[in-house]
């Protein structure tokens, strides 16, 4: 059965934003961790 197009697009939107968002969040988290460590 074919899924309705808007639902497929929403899933694609979530997937691609996670694809770029997760590595970005990792980078920011690592930076924040270092800054906190250095000033604490």
């Amino acid at each position: 059965m074919t899924e309705p197009a808007p639902r497929r697009r929403t899933a694609l939107l979530v997937a691609v934003w996670l694809w770029v968002g997760l590595p970005f969040a990792y980078g920011v988290a690592e930076l924040v961790r270092k800054v906190v460590q250095l000033f604490s």
Binding site: A5, P6, R9, L12, L13, V16, W17, W19, V20, P23, F24, Y26, G27, V28, E30, L31, V32, K34, V35, Q37, L38, F39
Partner: protein, 470 residues
């Protein structure tokens, strides 16, 4: 010779189907910019390369330096091809070159042939950097004519974020594989394959809007143009014509001076804060200085998104007034306050660096306002030569002055006071250049479409005809 298998890369095969969400395009752009932003984390490889291949510091910096030079050259000279072939082709070329650059470098380290690393990362990878940097700009602006600053801000923020990802990731990989030639070669190979796969998602995802597409809610016939203050043209100017206009060179000066002033602090951030407060009751240690550098990286990245998005609301000329005018004032604050307040120093530097990032991210939207969307990516590519120039000028000024002050027996804030006044002066010169920007004369407009008019709002811009008489 044509390759039918690669025809999916053509612009005609990447037109968005009906209902395609424009919010799928920024992740496509980010998948390229987050990857190529790795270039700023090259320093992670310097010490292992020097130790394993017996290189000097200058030699180990060569791939990075050549990569930045190639970024500027390929963006400047490849922009027109990128506009003609479309974003998917450009992203594919960027992914192939950037990935291949790492793989060739892996071969170079494994075989002990360092020149292969220089050619691989510096030349081949550098072409990937330049083509990748400009590849999504034009497409993003066409999808977000109502918010071009925000759209390009997201992508260019990704370039800053790329180093934040690569730095800890590359370090962890070197720890796992080792810092000998075998470990570095494996690390390079994994980088090449991983970045290739990561960027491929952008290649597959990117779409150009169909002819006549307008953003949801845009008034009919306005093509989503925001009717706000500022100079916003509906005409188009080609890249070849753009470089003949004073507007292009004024923006070149604006970008060059803004970047020069920002790099002045960025490049010497750690020694600067240490030496500024060395004679105070609370000196800054090496660890805290590194934390200060981290804070500047964060504000550099956030500034790219926040200030560029703000420019959609207050106008491009006004946001550059803030970058250049407030930036100059903040440099004066640091120079005059010297080491009396650490908080004032840190906050001022953070704001200056956020303006530095904002200047990078807002320039494509400023170009779009003045030259239209026709070849904005190619025009942006040519403007990036200002970045290359500033990359040499900024560190040169700060280092030369600090060295001469040190030779004269000065120490502490006195090492940098002259540089800070010079940076403020440069920003004021940039402020004047920004004030001189006027709408482009209609003789530079492309004839097609016949809609060559310039919007005048808030009394700031005048009609194209009037502008031409200035």
């Amino acid at each position: 010779m044509t390759f039918p298998a690669l025809s999916f890369l053509d612009r005609s095969h990447s037109i968005a189907p009906p209902g395609w969400s424009r919010w799928l395009v920024p992740p496509a752009a980010l998948s390229i910019h987050l990857a190529i932003g790795q270039v700023y984390a090259w320093s992670v490889f310097k010490a292992p390369l020097e130790e394993s291949l017996g290189l000097s510091g200058t030699q180990s910096a060569l791939p990075f330096q050549l990569g930045i030079v190639m970024l500027g050259l390929s963006a400047a000279f490849g922009g027109t091809v990128v506009e003609r072939r479309g974003p998917r082709w450009a992203m594919f070329v960027a992914a192939t070159c950037f990935s291949a650059g790492f793989c060739v470098s892996a071969l170079g380290v494994a075989s002990g042939q360092y020149w292969l690393v220089v050619v691989g990362y510096g030349v081949i990878g550098g072409v990937g950097l330049g083509i990748g940097y400009i590849s999504p700009v034009s497409t993003l602006i066409k999808w977000f004519p109502d918010r071009p600053g925000m759209a390009t801000g997201i992508a260019i923020m990704g370039f800053g974020g790329g180093a934040l990802i690569a730095s800890p990731w590359s370090s962890q990989m070197l720890s796992s594989f080792g810092t000998g030639t075998g470990g570095i070669a494996t690390t390079f190979l994994v980088h090449g394959l991983a970045y290739g796969a990561f960027m491929l998602v952008g290649v597959l995802l990117v779409r150009v809007p169909p002819e006549g597409w307008r953003p949801p809610g845009a008034p009919s016939g306005a093509a989503g143009r925001p009717a706000r203050r500022g100079m916003i043209t509906t005409a188009d100017v080609s890249a070849n014509n753009a470089i003949r206009t004073p507007q292009f060179w004024l923006l070149w000066v604006v970008l060059c001076l803004n970047v020069t002033a920002g790099i002045g602090i960025l490049e010497k951030a750690a020694p600067m804060i240490t030496e500024f407060f060395a004679e105070t009751s609370a000196p800054v240690g090496v660890g805290a200085a590194a934390g200060f550098v981290g804070l500047l990286s964060l504000t550099n990245m956030i500034g790219r998104f926040v200030w560029s998005s703000t420019s959609d609301v207050i106008g491009r000329r006004n946001i550059y007034r803030v970058y250049l005018g407030v930036g100059a004032a903040l440099y004066l604050v640091i120079a005059l306050a010297t080491n009396s307040s650490k908080i004032v120093f840190v906050l001022s530097a953070m704001l200056i660096i956020s303006f530095y990032g904002g200047g990078f991210a807002t320039i494509p939207a400023y170009l779009k306002d003045l030259f239209g969307t026709y070849q904005v990516g190619a025009i942006h590519g040519r403007l990036l030569t200002a970045w290359s120039t500033a990359g040499v000028l900024g560190p040169l000024i700060v280092n030369a002055i600090a060295d001469s002050q040190e030779a004269a027996g000065r120490q502490g804030p006195a090492l940098y006071t002259t540089s800070l006044f010079i940076m403020a002066g440069l920003l004021i010169a940039g402020f004047v250049a920004n004030e001189l920007v006027r709408p482009v004369h209609p003789r530079f407009h492309e004839p097609a479409g016949g809609s060559t008019r310039t919007e005048a709002v808030s009394g700031e811009a005048v009609s194209g005809k009037e502008a031409g008489s200035r």
